[in-house]
């Protein structure tokens, strides 16, 4: 009795398991599954830019000139470094239709550049050029980036071999099929720019009720690139952010002791919206109250100070002959000389009617606040150029250079604050408790180098924003966030990361052939069994017409 019941139970459970297995969601097997990063999709002043599609389901091909391939139903896989931008440009200008484009980026190595710096530079240059071209064009098909790996290399080699042998992958011949199953991207509703500021008050002499003069130190922390999920901007402007944080740390130590607190307030600002004509800085300044604006002596903007170079430029919008600008410049130059750094002034007049803001200090100048930008970039970048995209990797930032630049800025700032111009004084000496901390800078450079920071995709509560806020709060008296909406001329669309499935599919012809083979096998089997069991006569009898019934009645 119990045995039969147990048998029933076991059978019941087995049956349920069987049914569940049959009905359950299919296990998808693919030759490879890759993480892919979608190209940015945005509207600039109503003009659609970037890649306008996201879903992908086409056969793969290895180039544009493959005979017999239907490009409008194919995904072209190109290693990013081998792209011929001019021919690609021609293709796009002729409104060529493509099923999709997959660009392969060189594998990211974890070691910091020591192996072939030259090739690294060339790689960075080539990628930057490609990125610039991509960002300023419109593509009506999906464009994705992926990192090269052994798997991908093998697949690409096979595809290239097949294409060369005259067997491109199509629906009728089979081959590799690339599938990204996502729905179309949607507009990001009112993207937010978040400015983070920290306030270090100076020492007011007893009895003085007027506002102390303020010096602002500013760096924009967000980036823009061809692939928002990859735009980590280590040099532009991760280096500036790391410098600002180290300066905040050093001066907070100085200001902690009332005996060494300077007679200047220090305002640290991490602004967002840098690539979009410093939109965040504009909003930040607009919200300053009048007293603060009047107390501002000058603002020091930091941008891209991490590449290996012995030259730095001080970009100004006031003419360099201006006495105050000359004073600031000479302070910096004096310190820089001792550290083998050449600093040069560079003047760019502001054109009020032109909305383009190439440097952050220009936003201050438009509000009649004296400001300079320190940068290792010689020329003012164009719109959406040098904004920290794929080409700007952690490897390209030289820590030694960043530390040296921090020292220059810190010492010259200290000399200005404590009135030590022209004197050979070293405030942040090595070995003292005010020494610069390479470990601190490195940890921030590393974090920033692996955190993509395209502002519309960050939202209000992104971890990096919280982290920067907390850090500033540690070093300053008053750290606060300010949220503003991005200028409506810029509209962004979501969907930055996806998974690409690479399937090896058989052609329809193959299926037909197999169907034919199986069909003829079954027919043959039928004939053989029929004949062997019932005899040949019966078999032939199947084909003969049955004798007509008419004659039976007689």
């Amino acid at each position: 009795m119990r045995g039969a019941k147990r048998q029933q139970q076991v059978m019941g459970r087995a049956l349920v398991a069987l049914v569940t297995v049959v009905m359950s969601v299919v296990v998808v097997e693919a030759a490879a599954v890759l993480d892919v990063y979608r190209m940015i999709q945005y509207d600039l002043g109503g003009v659609p830019m970037g890649s306008r599609r996201a879903a992908l389901s086409h056969h793969a091909t290895s180039g544009f000139a493959v005979p017999g391939a239907d490009l409008s139903r194919a995904v072209v896989i190109l290693p990013a470094l081998k792209v011929n931008i001019s021919s690609l440009n021609e293709f796009v200008q002729n409104k060529g239709l493509l099923g999709g484009l997959l660009l392969l980026l060189p594998q990211r190595s974890n070691g910091s550049g020591g192996d072939g710096d030259d090739s690294d530079e060339n790689v960075a240059k080539a990628l930057a050029e490609l990125e610039q071209w991509l960002v300023h064009n419109t593509f009506q098909y999906p464009v994705y980036f992926a990192y090269e790996s052994d798997n991908v290399q093998n697949i690409l080699q096979e595809i290239t071999a097949n294409d060369a042998a005259g067997r491109p992958a199509t629906a009728t011949t089979g081959g590799y099929k690339l599938v990204v199953s996502v729905s179309d991207a949607k507009k990001l509703p009112s993207p937010t720019l978040t400015n983070i500021q920290g306030w270090l008050p100076g020492l007011r002499p007893a009895g003085d009720t007027s506002m102390l003069p303020t010096i602002a130190i500013v760096a924009s922390y967000d980036t823009f690139g061809a692939a928002p999920a990859l735009a980590a901007g280590s040099d532009s402007n991760g280096s500036g952010v790391a410098m600002l944080l180290e300066l905040a740390r050093l001066f907070s130590r100085l200001y902690a002791n009332p005996n060494t607190r300077g007679p200047f307030n220090l305002l640290f600002g991490l602004t967002s919206g840098g690539p979009y004509n410093y939109n965040g800085t504009y909003n930040w300044l607009r919200n300053f109250d009048q007293r603060l604006k009047e107390s501002m002596v000058y603002a020091l903007c930091l941008n891209s100070l991490g590449s290996s170079s012995d030259r730095m430029w001080m970009h100004v919008s006031k003419p360099p002959e201006n006495a105050f600008i000359r004073k600031i410049f000479s302070e910096i130059e004096n310190v820089a000389q001792d550290l083998d750094l050449t600093v040069e002034p560079r003047h760019k007049k502001i054109n009020i009617s032109n909305s383009r803001v190439a440097w952050e200090h220009e936003q201050f100048s438009r509000q009649r606040i004296t400001a300079v930008t320190l940068s290792q970039l010689e020329e003012a970048p164009e719109l959406l150029q040098r904004s920290g995209g794929i080409a700007d990797r952690r490897k390209t930032v030289n820590e030694t250079v960043v530390m040296r630049n921090i020292k220059v800025v810190a010492e010259s700032l200290a000399r200005h604050i404590y009135g030590q111009e022209g004197k050979q004084v070293e405030v942040f000496a090595k070995g003292s408790n005010l020494a610069l901390s390479p470990a601190y800078v490195r940890s921030w450079l590393d974090l920033l180098g692996r955190t993509p920071r395209v502002a519309p995709f960050l939202g209000k509560n992104a971890p990096i924003i919280t982290a920067l806020h907390k850090e500033l709060a540690q070093h300053t008296k008053d750290a606060s966030l300010q949220h503003e909406t991005l200028d409506s001329a810029y509209v962004f669309y979501d969907l930055t990361k996806a998974q690409l499935n690479v399937y090896q599919v058989a052609s329809v012809t193959f299926d037909f052939i197999v169907a034919l083979a199986v069909g003829s096998y079954l027919i043959l089997l039928f004939i053989v069994l029929f004949i062997s069991t019932k005899g040949v006569d019966d078999f032939i009898g199947v084909f003969r017409k049955p004798p007509s019934r008419k004659y039976k009645s007689t």
């Binding site: 048998q7 076991v10 059978m11 087995a14 069987l18 297995v21 049959v22 359950s24 299919v26 296990v27 998808v28 097997e29 693919a30 030759a31 089979g174 099929k177 599938v179 499935n501 399937y503 090896q504 599919v505 058989a506 329809v508 299926d511 197999v514 169907a515 199986v518 069909g519 096998y521 079954l522 089997l525 039928f526 004939i527 053989v528 069994l529 029929f530 069991t533 019932k534």
Partner: protein
């Protein structure tokens, strides 16, 4: 695989059973109920086998050929033979000749085996786009399995249902039946112990099935003669 490929593989896996039923006199004598009963006996036997597996076998970490485990699996595999014995002898069939009885039992048994072992993977794998040869090979394997099962059923009917057998042939009958019953162990040894690839294993199964079918046919016809 796409649905087209699914149909191809399903036709290759289950088609021969239907063809066998239709082409041979089985369909004329309405042996369908026998096939169904044999299938049910197969399901029960398999469940008992799996309960024994779960109880006695350990899960091995590596994919190699563990001799003691495989011997145990082989012994439990002989439950199959017991099941066939039950199906052939104990279950009451409508009066059909012995010839047709073993064929019907073998057919039902093989069909249940094909459905339980091969339908689920086929269905689950059908919706994917990725193409593999596996399902076609599985179809060929089920063909070979059909031949194995019918041969084993034939030998089983010789052993248990026929009383007068020429004495010289009896050991051959038992040896062939033993080989057929041990087929699953042999194939798993080939796959795991010698690391043969699937296509090679399937071709071995096909050729072995034809060989055993021939041997069985000779034995069967040799045993027929005294009765005539």
């Amino acid at each position: 695989m796409t649905f087209f490929h699914f149909f191809n593989c399903a036709a290759l896996t289950f088609g021969p059973h239907a063809v066998y039923y239709k082409a041979t006199p089985l369909s004329e004598y309405d042996t369908f109920s026998t096939c169904i009963k044999a299938a049910i006996v197969y399901i029960v036997t398999t469940l008992i086998k799996f309960v024994c597996f779960a109880t006695f076998l350990q899960v091995s970490e590596h994919d190699g050929f563990d001799l003691s485990q495989e011997i145990l699996k082989g012994l439990i595999g002989f439950l199959d033979v017991a099941g066939l014995y039950y199906a052939l002898t104990q279950v009451s069939h409508r009066s059909i000749s012995q010839n047709h009885k073993f064929q019907a039992v073998g057919l039902g048994w093989a069909f249940a085996d094909a459905v339980l072992h091969r339908l689920a993977p086929l269905w689950v794998g059908a919706k994917g786009l990725e193409f593999t040869w596996e399902y076609l090979l599985q179809g060929l394997e089920s063909n070979a399995n059909l031949v194995f099962t019918v041969s084993l059923a034939a030998l089983g009917s010789l052993m248990w249902l026929r009383k007068n057998k020429p004495a010289a042939l009896v050991p051959f009958i038992y040896v062939s039946a033993g080989i057929l019953a041990a087929m699953p162990s042999i194939t798993s040894y080939l796959r795991k112990g010698l690391a043969w690839e699937f296509p090679r294993v399937v071709s071995f199964e096909l050729s072995a099935s034809l060989l055993m079918a021939f041997v069985t046919w000779r034995l069967f016809s040799a045993c027929q003669r005294p009765a005539q």
